[in-house]
Structures are given as structure tokens and as C-alpha cells.
Amino acid sequence: MGGWAIAVHGGAGVDPNLPTERQEEAKRLLTHCLNLGISALRSNLSAIDVVELVVRELETDPLFNSGRGSALTEKGTVEMEASIMDGPKRRCGAVSGITTVKNPISLARLVMEKSPHSYLAFAGAEEFARNQGVELVDNDYFITEDNVGMLKLAKEANSILFDYRIPIVGLETCSAGAAATESLLQMNGLPISVYTPETVGCVVVDKEGRCAAATSTGGLMNKMTGRIGDSPLIGAGTYACDLCGVSCTGEGEAIIRGTLAREVGAVMEYKGLGLQEAVDYVVRERLDEGKAGLIAVSNNGEVACGFNTNGMFRGIASENGFMEVAIWE
């Protein structure tokens, strides 16, 4: 048993021109959340409790794209999704299309524990939330001024890409906003400055070697209403088993096609790879030209991250005293 370890992320794919101030703000929040998780682990909370706690904190802060601060649909509304998975029995819960629940990750946990199902969505999920008495707020609570501006830019940049693997023609010449034309880096067809992936996630292995993972997001800026991404999909955005816990972020469709989170577990289980090897393999071989990043822990206390984007907001710590908060490679 290697002791506890924890990793958090705030999305993969970072605008290289992101103002220093915002970078610092992101690092402060990641550090705060990491410390919150560390304290919880030191007080012997189980992995599943810790991932929920940390993701709640990330959802509540408006900085990243989850809970308050979620990206907006093409209609300017917020539709959030989240999932959580407990490694030891592979129990899991997921929610999509959440519009009034303050902390979607906690609702996902309640789906896992209080419903006969694994996944509830839209009106049915909202009804379940009301029955469970979780904290509800107005949809406006989630909408930030920043994101209203981003949605406008996204619409000007001629929407999202049809298929991220098909090169887009003419986006550079279309009337994208000033911020959009500064950078030709794109994800899901959106200029990186507008893309704001910034899904949040946390993975934890506790002292007992139990792994857990949790992921929460507002989804893709300017998404169609009803769009479901990788975050709530077990095996895609989130996965945990006896061996590891994984949370992914980035181009949702690439992560779904690659069943990315499960792949880390699968190559450990079926190819005998170590955690970092598994993470590197999956990022290299399983993304099929998509862009994404992930964080992972193993049952013997290892922690790893990997991404093929320019940067991922992330923080990592383990019981032996290692701690790192970073954005770039």
C-alpha cells in the first residue's frame, strides 16, 4: 500500500494568451482544492467522499466550466452533467441536463446510492433532485458574464466543428471576433480562446487503496441543447475500478470514441502496464487525432496525468509530500 494520492483538473486545452492574472487565479483555486482533498484524506475520509468534496468546491467556484461558471448552450442556458465512480465495487452514478442543481456531482452520487439506476437525465434528474432535497438555485445563478461574452464569440466564430477530425476550411477568414483571430489553435472547431473546456475532475486513492473518480462540466460552449458529452459517461470521462481512478477532459467526442477513462484501466489490467505508462499509452494511442487530457491514480498510491493539448489545469499531491500545481507542460 503506497499511501494516499490525489489529482484535480480544471480542463485540458489552455489558451496560450490566457492573461497571467487568470492563470494565477486558476492555480490558487487548484491549490485550494488540492489542500481541501489532502485534509480530508488525512482525516481518513474515503476516496469517494473526497472526490465528491473536491468537485463540489470546483463547481461552486465560478472559475472553471462546471456548476457556477458553466459553458452555455446555443440558447444561452446552462445544462450541466457529472458522474462519479467508486473503484472497489465499480458503483457509479451520473446526471445530465441539470439546470437548477447547485452541485451536480452530489446528485450523481445520490443517483448511485439512492436510485436503482446509474444515470438520470434532464427533467427526470431534476425531479429526483427535488425528491432528494438537494440545494437548488435559479438557472441564472450558473451563468456568468464571462460566459455570455464567450457564447457571443463562439457564435461569431461560426459555431462548433462538424467533426473534429475533418480539417475546417475558412474559419480563419470568417468574421471571428478579435480574440478568436489572435490564435489559430482550436479545439472542437472553436478558437482556443473561446473553447473554454475547463471541465473539472478529481481522482483519489485513499490509504486503504480504494480509488474513486468524479467529473463535472457545463459541456461545450454553444452546444446544442440536449447534447451529452463524455463527462457523465462511465468509461469515457470517468472510470474507477480496483486498480485505478481516472477523470478525463477535452474534446468530448474524442474521449467517447476512445472510451478513454476505461482504457487506462484496461491497459493496466490486460497489458500489465503501470499507471504512468498506461496514461501515456492512452493519450498517445487512443485519442485518434482528438485533443484531451486526463488525471489518474492507482491503488498503490501512484498519481499521474497526461495530455496532448497545450496545457491542462491540474494539481497533484501524494502522501509522501509531493505536490504540484501546473498549467503548461
Binding site: P116, A121, G226, R262
Partner: protein, 320 residues
């Protein structure tokens, strides 16, 4: 090498005593759908077109739990879901929470081909269906008298039927026997490989009897109920929650890819490692192999290959 097709109409605790009047129409439907698939493959249709075609036919058949004949939510409504995936490109599309779309599988294909997304659900998916001009009908079209009765029983038993294929209360099995026969229906799915080695899979379902409104099962989740790549195409059926946590469909492919197992051994291994009574699947490989393992009492299934092999079955071969 050569084409192959396999399809299923659900796995579960199908009693060996299933009366002929319940069994025969479903066997006929399986045969009919199999023939449609075989003919399409013989006329050089792409595997993706074949699985869509076959699943549309299964959706239209009221004796299976997909499209017309879908089981009901706790509110007595229908919420259908479906998923399709192309093996070589790994392109995929999925839908959930459909209430008016006649053929959910075709909407899943449109999500794959006409949107930047993979998965649309509920109102957004319905709005997309209208925009695409697919056939829609009043939700009552999907609701059969059998399913109204089945929901009533489930509610009386005060239970969400986690496995809707099982008798609601074992101790009253005798009394509910006739209804049990009717409840032996399931998710539908089809996998195919064409003459050019293209693989595809499609799965469609109404979900669980008395499910909560908004419940999503394994069917639309890529890697759980549905998955295809260049090694195999898989469609799974059974207890959705178990299939999700075992990532059943992807694991068949993962075992082939990472451990070099054959299709048959990989599929058998995944089904054996899932809790007993929870999973069945159909799968094909590019070389035209077919396998249809299950750890439930039975699975409505059918397959055919270019070299002339054909099978239609419900229980394991020694019981058929």
C-alpha cells in the same frame, strides 16, 4: 472472410416453459429480421446500413422492447434510446429520452452524421428529430396493452424491475405466468460485417419497466451497450447498470486488442466475468466470425454467415 450478421431481442430470465404462442412470433420476427440483414449484405450494402436497417425492423416489431413495444416508465410514458457505431472510423451517434421518433436508431445515425456531437437527449434530441424531418408519431403509438399491464404489475409489486425480464415476484410466479411470458422481451441489437470487412453495431431499447423518468441505461453509452472498432462490433443486452460498470462492449474489443484473444474467447470472458444473470451480447469480427454468449437463462438471438451457417435460438444450445 465473408459477411456475417447477428442480432438479438434481449437477454434475461426467459422461462424454458415459454408457451409457443409467446415464443413463435418472436422466433418468426428474429428470422424475418435476419433475412433482411442477409439480403442486404448479399446486395453489397455497407455494414452500417445493414445494422440500421435490421434494428429499424426490430423497433417496428411490437414484441420487442424498442420502438413500438417499448416498456413504460413509472409515469406510464415511453422514453426510448438507441446507439449506432461504425467500426473502421469509430464514428458513433446516440440518443436518449425519445418520445415521438418512430425509429430511434435512425435518429442516432443522424446525430452521428449531421451534428458536431455524438449524443443528444430528451427535448434537444426531439427538436433535432423535427429539424431533420424524421418520422414522428404520437407517443401512444409506442405503448402496447401488454406494456400497460406489465407496468401495473410492477407498480403493484412496488418495485422498479431492475431486470424487467424476470417475474416480478418469484413466489407468485404461477399466478403471473401468462404475463411473465409476455415480459420476456428485451433490448434489440444488431452487429454486422460486410464483404469488405466493414464492421458496425446498433442497439435500441425502451429501457426498464417502471424505470424512473430520465433514466439512461447502457444502450446509448458507447463502450457499455454498444461498441465497434476495426477488431469487432458488439451489441449487449441485460441489466443496464451492470453492463455500464463492466463496460461490456468495449471490454470485448479491449481483450482482443490488448491480450490478443479471439472474438469468441474475449466475448465469453467478458460475459463470464459479469455477475450471473446480467449480460448477453452478440459480436462479429472482420473475418466473419460470430459469437452470441449470455449468462442469463436465455437470449433471443439469430445469426448467419456467408459460408451458410445460420442459427436462431433462445436458450443455450443444449436446451433449444
Amino acid at each position: 472472410m465473408g459477411w456475417a450478421v447477428a442480432l438479438h431481442g434481449g437477454a434475461g430470465d426467459i422461462p424454458l416453459s415459454l408457451p409457443p404462442e409467446r415464443r413463435l412470433p418472436r422466433e418468426d420476427a428474429l428470422r424475418h429480421c435476419l433475412n433482411i440483414g442477409v439480403n442486404a449484405l448479399k446486395s453489397q450494402q455497407h455494414a452500417l446500413d445493414v445494422v440500421e436497417l435490421v434494428v429499424r425492423e426490430l423497433e417496428n416489431h411490437p414484441n420487442f422492447n424498442a420502438g413500438r413495444g417499448s416498456v413504460l416508465t413509472s409515469s406510464g410514458t415511453v422514453e426510448m434510446e438507441a446507439c449506432i457505431m461504425d467500426g473502421n472510423t469509430k464514428r458513433c451517434g446516440a440518443v436518449s429520452g425519445l418520445t415521438t421518433v418512430v425509429n430511434p436508431i435512425s435518429l442516432a445515425r443522424l446525430v452521428m452524421e449531421k451534428t458536431p456531437h455524438i449524443y443528444l437527449a430528451f427535448d434537444g434530441a426531439e427538436a433535432f428529430a423535427r429539424e431533420q424531418g424524421v418520422d414522428t408519431v404520437d407517443s401512444s403509438h409506442f405503448i402496447t396493452p401488454e406494456n400497460i399491464e406489465r407496468l401495473k404489475q410492477a407498480k403493484e409489486a412496488n418495485s422498479v424491475q431492475i431486470d424487467y425480464t424476470q417475474p416480478i415476484q418469484r413466489e407468485v410466479k404461477v399466478e403471473t405466468h401468462a404475463a411473465d411470458g409476455d415480459s420476456q422481451i428485451g433490448t434489440v441489437g444488431c452487429v454486422a460485417v460486410d464483404n469488405h470487412g466493414n464492421l458496425a453495431t446498433a442497439t435500441s431499447t425502451g429501457g426498464l419497466v417502471n424505470k424512473m423518468v430520465g433514466r439512461i441505461g447502457d444502450t446509448p453509452v458507447i463502450g457499455a451497450g454498444t461498441y465497434a472498432n476495426n477488431l469487432c462490433a458488439v451489441s449487449a443486452t441485460g441489466k443496464g447498470e451492470a453492463i455500464i460498470r463492466c463496460t461490456v462492449a468495449r471490454d470485448v474489443a479491449a481483450l482482443m486488442e490488448f491480450k490478443g484473444l479471439s472474438l469468441e474467447v474475449a466475448a465469453a470472458s467478458v460475459v463470464e466475468s459479469a455477475p450471473i444473470g446480467t449480460v448477453g451480447l452478440v459480436a462479429v469480427s472482420p473475418s466473419g466470425e460470430v459469437t452470441m454468449p449470455f449468462n442469463t437463462t436465455g437470449m433471443f438471438r439469430a445469426c448467419a454467415t456467408e459460408d451458410g451457417y445460420s442459427e436462431i435460438g433462445i436458450w443455450s444450445s443444449r436446451q433449444n
